[in-house]
Amino acid sequence: MKNRALYLIFAAVLVLPFAITNVNFQHVMIMFLIFASLGESWNIITGFAGQTSFGHAAFFGIGAYTSTVLFYKFGVSPWVGMLLGAGIAAVVSVIVSYPCFRLRGHYFAIATLAVAEIIKQLFVSWDYVEGATGISIPVVEDSFIAMQFHGSKIPYFLIGFALFFLIVMVARSIEKSKMGFYLKAIRESHEAAEALGINPRKYKLLAMMISSALTALLGTLYAQYILYIDPFMVFSLEISMKIVLLSVLGGLGNIYGPIIGAAILIPLSEYTRVFLGGTGKGIDLMIYGALIVLIACFEPHGIIGLLKKRGKKRGALYAKTNA
């Protein structure tokens, strides 16, 4: 039954931009796919394994920069750059996490935040990749290989959907696998997991690698969609925070969580930007912040927790009336 809900979501998402052909709406759908997928990727290390990362923008940026630099300097297809970026992000995540996983709880979270800022600063002062000026991706004719489409947003949407589908399926299979089991045990009690023979470092590193590689894929899509990147955009704290907030709002450690969270936050931020322009900047985050406070106070398991509770109550009522 649970699978049916998931496939319904996939079907609905896929159909929407064809039913509502408004360009603005299609843009919102693409951003939704990118951020829902980012939340799903982040959920693997934070939701499942309980290691809070405040620095996922680092991997997003690495993905964006790898494909962009390769295309800009050498004309390499962004598809190749996308895969390479995922690989580099995985390697960087291991280098960063190996020492950081000695830290527990808040200290790990702070370390990820610091590392992401350091990586941003490196790119700001790195002349080879145009430093703070950023890179405008050379515009070429519509082509699948160059991942550029100027006439319609639909191809970007379809690529985004494919990534979304892939990432949700990966997250789901991890959740259902033995590895997902071990990650949850580590989250629940690091000590007990270790005492039972689980090697926590191994599984945390594996989860981190998968999470960051998937995150990097979306960096490439984002860069190709916007056609311009600079370190302040793709390595920004705002992106790291959005990923965290939307997943927490939707429900941490649950594959539906980031989808629900992104479905609320992304339209909110995109439409307030459209309707209020520059003056409205930040209003989405204010509304969002208020939502988070409410959720944190009344339903720490996020919106999905709320839905589950209601489902249970209804189930209980149903059982009663049938008794």
Binding site: F181, Y182, K184, A185, E188, S189, E191, A192, A193, E194, A195, L196, G197, I198, N199
Partner: protein, 234 residues
């Protein structure tokens, strides 16, 4: 089977236990007793690899284990029931037990172990689908022991089992431990409840501020002046 030799261990290089030597033989139930802060937990953590010893050696079945990481030590056959139980609260009872069999790859073997554990702890079978955190303290302690048994240990380390349990449950838990021991699993337990722990033990050690001050059979120790004066107020 377990030989701890001149173990000094502690935290951040500040020793908590000094030159502790103790032994567990095949099939024995050994109690280490002492008051709060004596270093009992530190000894167990050093044996199971959760803490690296400062000096001294630990041998299990003739093999040095003091340099091995915790997850390797479990594979050799030492299971640790940590203080405060540390069950996985958000997981079902069954999943908690399955986690215990982490190192066992043969699924049929895991199912056999599960059946055996359910035989010893029928209450866990009843609560199979319930979340760990929704059980009472005593049941959680049973779950922690059962989970450790799922690893098919040759030696079970049990830390402060009586903590936070009502007296009736303490007796019950000790009975279970004795039963487990009779099935051939050696047990090393540390306890604050001196009398109860020595009564069921084949042998015991008394730990005071990080040093072993007396050892002998459970009965010998119970009869000793030291125990009578220091722990029973006689």
């Amino acid at each position: 089977m377990l030989k701890v030799n001149k173990l000094t261990a502690g935290y951040d290089n500040v020793p908590v236990v000094f030159d502790v030597s103790l032994e567990v033989r095949e099939g024995e139930l050994v109690s280490v007793v002492g008051s709060n802060g004596a270093g009992k937990t530190t000894i167990l953590r050093a044996i199971s690899g959760l803490l690296k010893p400062i000096s001294g050696s630990i041998e299990f079945m003739g093999k040095r284990i003091d340099k091995l990481p915790a997850h390797e030590i479990v594979k050799l056959g030492i299971a640790h029931v940590p203080e405060g139980r540390h069950i996985f609260g958000k997981m079902s009872v069954r999943d908690n037990l399955l986690m215990g069999a982490y190192a066992i790859e043969d699924d049929a073997e895991v199912n056999r172990l599960l059946d055996r554990v359910y035989e010893i702890f029928p209450v866990l079978k009843e609560r199979e689908k319930q979340k760990g955190e929704t059980m009472s303290g005593g049941e959680q302690q049973m779950l922690a022991i059962a989970r450790a048994l799922m690893a098919k240990p040759k030696l079970l380390l049990v830390d402060e089992m009586s903590l936070g349990l009502m007296p009736l449950m303490v007796d019950k838990a000790l009975d279970v431990l004795k039963h487990v021991n009779k099935t051939g699993v050696a047990v090393l337990m540390v306890e604050q409840k001196v009398q109860e722990a020595l009564e069921i033990a084949d042998r015991g050690y008394i730990l005071q501020t990080g040093k072993i001050v007396a050892q002998g059979t459970g009965q010998e120790l119970l009869g000793s002046e030291l125990v009578k004066q220091a722990y029973m107020g006689m």
